[in-house]
Structure formats: structure tokens, C-alpha cells
Amino acid sequence: MSSISLKNVTKAYGDVVVIEDLDLEIKSGSFTVLVGPSGCGKSTTLRMITGLEKVTKGDIFIDGVRVNDIAPGKRDISMVFQNYALYPTMTVRDNIEFGLINQKIPKEERNRRINEVCNIVGLTEYLHRMPANLSGGQRQRVALARSMVKEPKVFMMDEPLSNLDAKLRAAMRVELINMHKKMGTTFVYVTHDQVEAMSMATDIVLMDEGKIIQQSSPSELYHNPNCIYTAQFVGSPQTNVIDGHLSNEVKLGFRPERVRMYEIENGINILAKIATREMLGAEIIYSLETQYGTIMAKSDKDLPTDTELKVGVEYSHMYLFGADTYRIPFTEELKANITDVFGGDKS
């Protein structure tokens, strides 16, 4: 169990600054997921923690120890690479054992650990195979075993599931959650997939353009986004944002699943017409035409297209964003403004 902290970390390639003045605290024992679109600096951040990438400025601490000048192999961290990066000329067993030999761990201890880890990830019968003769999922397991066997303080994973098919990915998600629970080690995980982030993380770090937009638990991130970017990154379809109708450039946001397909009290009711519908099974996604633009809604109520109706959004489900797209508090004054513009309760 280890905490990691980054203080004023800057990373530049020549003149191109990828990350500027980043501060990040990763809690001991957490499953922290760095998430964001490609090019947001999440992988670079991870690689700086591992030491594979040098920091241009700033400090990185693991358990309070500054590790800037400590070689990657000496940081007591292990990493699972996106393409697994197995040693192609070694058997599965040799791949797993390689790091242990470097650490000069005695043979008996090595055997014990390899057996234990291979039981956990289910590789025991493949120990003498070469990586080329394994399926994608099996290679993934070898990569996991290779990093688990070192019993590191921190586990790093750089999009480890992106090369697997959808079914296997879902299964591996559950396995990773279990692994984290069992081992209690700090996990740092990079992905661009919000579903992966939401489902596995205890702590999500949402990044964009080299900056941390929001760091919080998945449910906090969902229920309490601090800006439009966060609100729209999590959830599908993305959060509706109505712009240009409230005073002081205030924008009104609400999630599609919060839109009621009937008139409500304690909120606003908007006149809408169903333009399209997507049947998902339990729920239906509607796109609604309104005088404020298109609004997405998700509901279990089954309505045909072209239906005209009033849809409701409760005050408690609204997010208000200021001109700078960041969240602003929901004041009585703004409530009055909203009621005034969109029409109030059914009366």
C-alpha cells in the first residue's frame, strides 16, 4: 500500500508542453483511474510515475519519498502495458520469473510466487508455451501475472484491456476489481473508456489537455460534475446543456435519464416533440425537438415518434454552469430566472 503524489509536475518535449504544473494525490490502496480523451496526458502522467518518462519540472513522491532520480525498476512499481510487452523469446514462465531473478529472489521463493500467481490468473497449464502461441486474453494474463509476481507497492496499467474483445473486457473488469480487493495494493489505471473508469475506480481523475478537470469517486463524478466537460464525459447519451436562454450566460444542464416524459412539479416543463427513438430494451433513448434545441431523454416509457408532450426536469436534477463552463451554485435568484424562461410547475 502506497500513496503517490505529484507536485507541480511539468512535462515538455522540446518546446511542446504536454503537462503543466500538475498536482495529483493518489491515495494509498485506491483504485485510481486516469481517464480522458487521447492526448490528454494521462499516459504521460502514468509513465512519469513509473519513471519511463522523465519529469521536466516538479517532483514525484511515492510514500513520501522523492523518486525523480530513482530508476523505474527500483521504484517498487510494476506495469502492465497496452500491448502487453511480453518478452517474445521467453516462455510464459520465464517471462514471469525474469524480474524476480533480477531482484535476486531465491529459487524456492520464486517457485512459490509463480505457482501462486499462476493459480490466481489461471495460467498453470500454459507455463511452457511461448507468447506467440497464446490468445490475446492469455497474453493479458501473462502480463498481469508478470506484474503481480513482483508484489509491488503500486500497480500501473496503461489501457490493458483495449486489445481484448468486448466480452473478455467485461470479464477482465470484474477480475481486476476482485484482484484489487484481494491485494489491497494501490492501482493506477489509464483508460479513455468512461465505462471502464466508472465501473472499476474508487477514485477517478478526469484529465483534458494536460490538466486535471476533476478528481473524485465515480458516483461523485456522476452526480456532482464540476463543469460541462465532466458532466458530458460521463454518461450516455451525454448531458443536455441548454445555452443562451438564461441571464449572465448561465447554462442549464441535466442528464437525459433525468428527463421525465410527463409534466412534473418542483421543476420546469418543456413542450417537446419526439423526433427519433432508439430502443435499448429496458429503456428508450428519445431525441426531442424543443424551442431550445434538441434534448436527449432516456426513459422506460414507451412513446411513438411525433408524439407531442410536455417533458419535465426537476430543480434538484439541474446543473448550472457559468460563462466559464464551471458549475455555479443553484440560487433562488437563478431558480426564478429558470422558471421565468422555461415555464414553471404544472398549475
Binding site: G51, G73, F81, N83, Y87, P88, T89, F98, G99
Partner: protein, 308 residues
């Protein structure tokens, strides 16, 4: 009935199409096959055939002598020396070339994209494009034991002059060094290409595994370029079995037969002594040696080489 006929017809048309395509394939390969037969297969068989006959180059109808030519080879004092020379030359040349090529390639690869890299690569590769004859002539001057450039420098620095080509003890080594110098760049280039095919993430994984540099080299780099190393060793061994130009120009097989290698010996026998039968027999011996050594290399390769 008619339907059935039509079906058959379609089948036979398809069959004749297939035949035609096959025929076109053979026709396209024909020129290459003809050339191969004329210049490789036929000479090979003729070589063997001629090795069983005596006479000289100008003899109209050489006499069949059976294995006499081979017996003469084995009995001759020179032939053993020639084989030994060839073996020593091959071991020195191939050994030095391989070790130096791998070291230089790894060094250059580590400095990829640097200016030094480009310059060094050019310098190392250039000898490969110069003809062996020019290189040999050049080194004949450089290595001259009295007035050569290298010895002038050695003497100026207060060292004893080196004998190079003038002593039986050093001549073979000197000729080998010239071959190493000339061939190195080509092999460096091949190994560099192989090195660049190793994914960086594998090295990063090794870094995360806290692997010492030498272990990384022997356990990761070397196995991953082993197919190229096998290829190079086969090509280099065959090339040094066939060494001729440099020997012919620099030493003429001397002094005291100390640089007389197999191909030079064959040439000498055919054109200096006018005994084509014995030369052909030596040619067959060369062929057998090349086959055996290459086979052994592939055998070793099967165990040691990792194809992906």
C-alpha cells in the same frame, strides 16, 4: 439431360481455365529456370563429371580416372594446409565480423537520430560499395612491410614495424582483417534493421523489471535478433569459404602457402598447373564443406534462434 450437359460443360471450362493458369505460371517461371539450369545446375553436374576425368585444359578427350583426382588431393601435402588456411580464415573473419558488427550496431542503434550516427553509419558502410580489387590494392600499399603507411606510423611512434603480408605467421590474419573491414558495414546495417524491429515497450518492460544492461543484451536483444544473426553467419561463412580476390591480389597464396585458400587453390590448379580434373575435385570438396557447415548452422539455429 441438357441441364446435366451444361453442368459438365461448365466444369470442363473451369478445368481448362485452371490448366491455362497453371501453364501461364510455368511459362513465367521459365526464363529464370532456364538460366538457373544453364548457369547453376548444369555446371554443378559438369563439375562433378569433370572431377572424374584426368588430362589438362587443352586435352581433347580427357581420360576417365575415377576417384584418382580425389586421392591425389588427399595425398597432396598442400591440400591439408589449404583446408586449414580456409578454416582459420573463416573463423577469424566471421568471428570478428559478427562480434564487431553486433557491438557497432547496438552502439549505433542506441544513438539513433543523432548526427554522429549518420556519419558513423556512412563511414562504416562505405567499404561495402568499393570493389574488393580496389580495397585489396589499397591495403597492399597500406600494409607494405617496408614503405607502407601503417608501418610508417608505427615506426614514427616508436614501435617495431609489423610484418603483415610478408611473414607466413601474419599474412592470413592480415588478409582476414581486410575482409572484416570491407564486410562490416553491410552486416552492421542488417543487424541495425533487426534491432529497430524490437518494440521499445519490451525494453521498457525490462526496465520495469530492473534488468541490468548486460542481461538485457544477452536475454532480450540477442535472442530477438537471432534470426538475423543466423542469416548473417551463414552468408558470411559461405563468403569467406569463397574468398579469392584479396588473396589473388595481396598474396597470391603466399608466403609459403600460408594464405592459400580453397578457391585460390582451385584457380591455381586449373589455370597455373593446368589440371582441371583435380581443380574440379577440389570444387566438389568445397561444395560438400559449404553444405555441411550450413546444415550444422541451421541445426544449431533450430535450437537457438527464436522466430516470432
Amino acid at each position: 439431360m441438357s441441364k446435366k450437359n451444361k453442368h459438365l460443360e461448365i466444369q470442363s471450362v473451369a478445368g481448362s481455365n485452371e490448366k491455362r493458369e497453371k501453364l501461364i505460371g510455368y511459362l513465367m517461371a521459365l526464363p529464370a529456370v532456364v538460366l538457373l539450369i544453364a548457369f547453376t545446375v548444369y555446371p554443378l553436374f559438369y563439375l562433378f563429371y569433370r572431377s572424374l576425368y584426368g588430362g589438362s585444359i587443352i586435352t581433347r578427350e580427357p581420360k576417365f580416372v575415377g576417384i584418382d583426382n580425389y586421392v591425389a588431393l588427399v595425398e597432396s601435402r598442400d591440400f591439408g594446409q589449404v583446408l586449414r588456411n580456409t578454416a582459420v580464415y573463416t573463423i577469424i573473419t566471421v568471428g570478428l565480423t559478427m562480434v564487431l558488427a553486433i557491438i557497432i550496431a547496438v552502439w549505433l542503434n542506441g544513438k539513433r537520430n543523432s548526427k554522429l550516427n549518420n556519419i558513423a553509419q556512412t563511414f562504416i558502410f562505405t567499404p561495402h560499395i568499393i570493389s574488393m580489387v580496389s580495397v585489396s590494392t589499397l591495403f597492399l600499399w597500406l600494409m607494405d612491410s617496408k614503405n607502407g603507411f601503417i608501418n610508417s606510423v608505427l615506426v614514427a611512434l616508436g614501435f617495431e614495424p609489423y610484418t603483415f603480408l610478408s611473414s607466413p605467421d601474419t599474412a592470413l590474419l592480415s588478409v582476414s582483417l581486410v575482409s572484416v573491414w570491407k564486410g562490416l558495414g553491410y552486416y552492421v546495417l542488417l543487424i541495425m534493421a533487426a534491432l529497430q524491429n524490437i518494440p521499445t515497450s519490451v525494453y521498457e518492460a525490462a526496465e520495469m523489471d530492473d534488468t541490468p544492461p548486460l542481461r538485457t543484451f544477452f536475454k532480450i536483444t540477442l535472442p530477438m535478433i537471432s534470426p538475423t544473426i543466423l542469416f548473417i553467419s551463414v552468408v558470411a561463412v559461405i563468403a569467406s569459404f569463397r574468398v579469392f580476390d584479396s588473396i589473388n591480389i595481396m598474396t597470391g597464396g603466399g608466403p609459403l602457402n600460408s594464405t592459400n585458400t580453397l578457391v585460390y587453390y582451385i584457380y591455381d590448379f586449373a589455370y597455373t598447373y593446368g589440371k582441371p580434373g583435380q581443380a574440379c575435385a577440389a570444387g566438389i570438396v568445397l561444395l560438400v564443406f559449404v553444405c555441411i557447415v550450413t546444415y550444422v548452422q541451421f541445426l544449431v539455429g533450430k535450437k537457438r534462434v527464436h522466430y516470432q
